[in-house]
Structure formats: structure tokens, C-alpha cells
């Protein structure tokens, strides 16, 4: 599999990375190099192998639905780049 410029633009859009033209060209080469390196896995037949997403024998961890203290609103907003009273402020969405 090889990655084209069109793929790079699509992936950058999915990842919300506003790449410029120069970066697009650079990533096309670098990603192809890395993906070639990853092709090595195709030497292995894994048809009957279960995937391991997690090494510990922990599945779902539940807790009781009890109200507990959480962060203060001022703390939550303390690092906001921009705010309006108790809200995070961002440029227009529509």
C-alpha cells in the first residue's frame, strides 16, 4: 500500500492538522517510509490469533453511581484560552 498526496490531505483533515503544501509533501514521503516498515507484519499469518488490546485481565470497571465532589468551575476554566463567564469561548461554529 502506498500513500498519495490525496490520502495525506484526507488524514490531515481527519486529524485537524492544517498542513501547508511543504508539510504535505514531506509527510507523503515520511509516512510511506514508516508504513513500508510496518508492512513487515504481513509476513505473519494471524488468521487464528485473537487480538490483545489490553494486557491486564481487567475488563469493565464499574463504580457506584454516587455524587462526589468534582473540580470547581473556576479551576476548570483556569487554563481556558478564552472564556465568557462560566463558559469556554470559541470562534463561531456555523
Amino acid at each position: 500500500m502506498s500513500i498519495t498526496k490525496k490520502d495525506i490531505i484526507h488524514v490531515a483533515d481527519l486529524a485537524r492538522l492544517g498542513l501547508n503544501d511543504e508539510e504535505t509533501i514531506k509527510y507523503e514521503k515520511e509516512l510511506n517510509d514508516v508504513l513500508n516498515f510496518m508492512e513487515k507484519l504481513n509476513e505473519l499469518n494471524t488468521d487464528d490469533v485473537e487480538p490483545t488490546s489490553h494486557v491486564l485481565d481487567i475488563h469493565n470497571v464499574f463504580r457506584s453511581d454516587v455524587v462526589e465532589d468534582s473540580l470547581d468551575v473556576e479551576d476548570v476554566l483556569a487554563n481556558a484560552p478564552d472564556r465568557d463567564e462560566d463558559y469556554f469561548k470559541v470562534p463561531s461554529i456555523l
Binding site: I8, V34, L41, P91
Partner: protein, 480 residues
């Protein structure tokens, strides 16, 4: 005796005050840091205030924790309330966490005194600490060489004796490889052994926090303190803290050591030093045998797929909305996010986000991500088999000696290949400790000791017994 107990007794016997001690360390650190680039923030004011509080306790006859007055460095991806935590990235340049990581609370509770936040590869992505967005870290044994990474600051600061111990994080070797390169002891605990709450995530199924110290005893003391169940981390293992210190002197006669041949393909000087160390173990009564972990060569590609995929998801949170940097010149929210991320993330971070996003995108998920998870199962089986026959496995930490600054940074694949001895350990979740096992060309050579899940106490024991037979941990680099 390790340094922590030594200082603890000096404080209790009033041979030295905590303020004197901390001022001495800070004065030295400021000079040394200038040469090595080990810190992104130095917390002098807090350190002196904390030391004063310890002295007050001592003079009031109150009990103090084992870490009381002990100077420590914390990797800059571990949250420290009110102290800037950048992850080595411009996107978090002014970020001040509003809570502490669980490990930080535990260290504070024992009286540990933070001197600063340790420099690192941006978002822990790198093996040389050259990817920090602020400045690079230098190896205290040779300042023209890298200290390893990503916890390069945490390892170099301990190696140069700027602090007594530090915390690092390890996703594919980021504690062990820099510990090896800087000639210090570093433990990557079993996945789930140490809480990740407050660790800014890189690859959540691989990340672990662990201690770095000049000797095995101090490393074990810190591990005993930071390990244990935490309800704030849903992947925390429901087990008590380790009691490594109580078991550190056990005899290792009859210990079965497996030596996986796939890990011995590196630099001749590294291998020669390792072989000497293995002979030492035989002299000490251990049984050393060659073994095989047949899928080793597939670990690196599997690792880079899984780590990049998880990173692309974890780093989606840095969007300029709730914290971190923002580009203010955009009129549309999507443009704001795209420009912010492009502008404030570094090159390696963007590359891994791209790889991860691609590997998880429609049509490619099975070919890359699912395939890598299946290979992860094969790797785990290799280790399960090996641990039926052996108590521990011993390998080099890295295939080479610490390399020159600038030598590998331009070629990702070469840089990735340097992680060959460490990444598999994160994929299979087992613990591994790195300690110095000798020197070559004046540079430290690291040895990695691996065990079954939750065998940290045995690993500290084996490492400590080895350390008793040499003076590698007592040598101090002359930084010039």
C-alpha cells in the same frame, strides 16, 4: 546504604537541616542544569518552603516520612498542581494543572521535595530528548551525546546527582533506555502497578510511570511508595503496594536467568559488557541459559502502529478550546483547531498523529491496527513460554552506546530501531528494570532485567544483588 536512608538519618540526627540540604542541591542544580538542559521549570520557592516545613516538624519532634527533605525531579508530563506542566510542548506552554497526579500526592505525603520539572521529548515521543520543543538534554557522561529519551531530563538529572531521584514515564522504553544511557537505575513497572492518574497520556495501553535513582535501593524505596491501587485510574491493578525493600537482599542462588538471543544483535562493546555481567550472575550461583523469543523482530512495527494510533486519539484533546495554546486569528472553530494544532505541535508529534489517524481510518483499521493487536498476542505468548522456564530474562537496554546529538534525529526508522530491546516489554505489560552493568569508552552500558507481571520485588532483589558486586552506581560523571 542508599542515599535516601542516609539523608533521612542525617536529618533525624540533626546533622543537617532540610533547608540547608535543599539550598545546596538547588545551588548545584542551577549550575549543572545550564550545561545539561535537564529542567523546564525549577521550583525554588516551593522547595525552600517545603524544606522549612520539614525542619519545623523535626524540631517539634513530629514524625517525618522516609522521603522528607529528599530532592526530586518530576517528568514534565506528570501533573503538578499550580506548577507549569508542558509535556515539552509549545501547545501546553502556559498550562498549570489544577490537580496533582496520584504519584505526586504520594511523594508529597512522604515529604519528597520537588526541585523542578524534567525536560523530555515532546509528549514523550522520542528516544533522545532532542524532540523537546524548548531545548535538548545532554548526557552527563559526555555532553555531545544524547541522554536517551523520552525521560532524558529525569535520567540525566539523577546521573549528574542534581537530585536524589526522579519520576519518568515509559511507553516504549522511555524510563529504561535513558536510565541505561545515563548509568542509573530505572524501573518500568507492570502495567497497572502504578497509577496513571494525572499522567498526560501518550499511548494509554502502554504508558507507565516509574522511578529513576542512582542506586537500586533508592529506586525500590520510591517504587514502594508510588505503587498500589488507585480508584482514579480504571486500569489500576487491585493489589497492595510493593514491599521491595524488605526483599532486596535475598540470595539469588539457583535463580534461573534466560538470555533471549534475539536481543543480542547490537554493538559489540555493549554485548561484551553484558556477557561479563551474565558471567557475574553465574559466579553468584544463578543458572544462565540462552533462550528465544521468536517474534521479537515484529515488535517494533507493532509498537509504532499501536502507540501512534492511541496517541492520535489521546492528543485530540489539544484543540485550543479548554486549555493550552490557541491561534486567535481564525474566524471559524474548525480552522482555529487545525491551525492551532499545526502551529503548536512539533514535527514528530504531528507525524505520529498522522500515522495513527491513518492506521485507524476506514479501510485500514484491519490491515494495521488490528494486525498489530494480533501480533501483540503472539509476543505475549513468547514471554508466557519463557517465564515457564525462567525467573527473569536479561537483555541489553539498547543495542548501542549513547549516540551523538544529531546523529539519528533525521532518520525516524534508525531512531525507532534503537528501541528494539524495550518496546516489546510495554506491549506485553511486564516489568523491567535498567541498571548499569559496566562502562565502554567511558560511557555507561545498561542491562535490562525482565520478570513476570507483578514481579517488581524480585527484579529489585536481583538488581540489588548484582549492584553489590560492582561500583558502577558509585561513579559520578564529571560534566564538562
Amino acid at each position: 546504604m542508599g542515599k535516601i536512608k542516609d539523608i533521612h538519618n542525617q536529618l533525624l540526627n540533626k546533622e543537617i537541616s532540610a533547608v540547608e540540604l535543599i539550598k545546596e542541591y538547588l545551588a548545584n542544580l542551577k549550575v549543572s542544569e545550564n550545561k545539561l538542559g535537564t529542567y523546564l521549570a525549577i521550583t525554588e520557592e516551593k522547595a525552600i518552603a517545603d524544606a522549612l516545613a520539614i525542619d519545623k516538624k523535626i524540631s517539634n519532634g513530629e514524625s517525618i516520612g522516609l522521603l522528607a527533605g529528599i530532592p526530586m525531579g518530576i517528568k514534565d508530563n506528570i501533573s503538578t498542581k499550580g506548577i507549569i506542566t508542558t509535556c515539552g510542548s509549545k501547545i501546553l506552554e502556559n498550562y498549570k494543572p489544577v490537580y496533582n497526579a496520584t504519584v505526586v500526592n504520594k511523594l508529597y505525603h512522604e515529604g519528597g521535595i520537588i526541585l523542578g520539572k524534567c525536560n523530555m521529548d515532546e509528549f514523550a515521543m522520542g528516544s533522545s530528548s532532542e524532540n523537546s520543543a524548548y531545548k535538548l538534554v545532554r548526557n552527563p557522561w559526555d555532553i555531545d551525546r544524547v541522554p536517551g529519551g523520552s525521560s532524558g531530563g529525569s535520567a540525566a538529572t539523577v546521573g549528574a546527582e542534581e537530585v536524589v531521584f526522579s519520576l519518568g514515564s515509559d511507553t516504549g522504553g522511555s524510563i529504561r533506555q535513558p536510565a541505561g544511557f545515563c548509568g542509573v537505575a530505572g524501573m518500568k513497572p507492570t502495567y497497572g502497578r502504578v497509577s496513571r492518574y494525572g499522567l498526560i497520556a501518550y499511548a494509554s495501553s502502554l504508558d507507565q510511570i516509574g522511578p529513576i535513582a542512582k542506586n537500586v535501593e533508592d529506586c525500590a524505596i520510591v517504587h514502594d511508595i508510588i505503587s498500589g491501587y488507585d480508584k482514579m485510574d480504571s486500569t489500576s491493578a487491585n493489589m497492595p503496594s510493593t514491599k521491595s525493600l524488605d526483599n532486596i537482599n535475598r540470595d539469588i542462588k539457583g535463580l534461573r536467568i534466560g538470555v533471549p538471543k534475539e536481543y543480542f544483535g547490537g554493538d559489540e562493546k555493549v554485548l561484551k559488557t553484558l556477557k561479563k555481567a551474565l558471567a557475574k550472575f553465574e559466579e553468584m550461583g544463578a543458572i544462565v541459559e540462552e533462550t528465544s523469543l521468536p517474534h521479537t523482530e515484529y515488535a517494533l512495527p507493532a509498537y509504532y502502529i499501536i502507540a501512534s494510533a492511541e496517541a492520535s486519539s489521546n492528543l485530540a484533546r489539544f484543540d485550543g478550546v479548554r486549555y493550552g495554546a490557541r491561534d486567535f486569528d481564525q474566524n471559524d472553530v474548525t480552522d482555529m483547531m487545525s491551525v492551532t494544532r499545526d502551529k503548536f505541535f512539533g514535527k514528530e508529534v504531528k507525524k505520529r498523529i498522522m500515522i495513527g489517524t491513518y492506521a485507524l481510518s476506514a479501510g485500514y483499521y484491519d490491515a494495521y491496527y488490528l494486525k498489530a493487536l494480533k501480533v501483540r498476542t503472539l509476543l505475549k505468548r513468547d514471554f508466557d513460554e519463557a517465564f515457564k522456564k525462567y525467573d527473569v530474562l536479561i537483555t541489553p537496554v539498547a543495542p548501542t552506546l549513547p549516540f551523538k546529538i544529531g546523529e539519528n534525529i533525521k532518520d525516524s526508522i534508525t531512531m525507532y530501531l534503537g528501541d528494539i530491546c524495550t518496546v516489546t516489554i510495554n506491549l506485553v505489560g511486564i516489568p523491567g528494570i535498567a541498571i548499569p552493568c559496566g562502562f565502554a569508552d567511558g560511557l555507561p552500558v545498561g542491562m535490562q532485567i525482565l520478570g513476570k507481571p507483578f514481579s517488581e520485588e524480585l527484579l529489585f532483589n536481583v538488581a540489588h544483588r548484582f549492584e553489590q558486586n560492582n561500583d558502577f552506581h558509585l561513579r559520578k560523571p564529571e560534566v564538562k
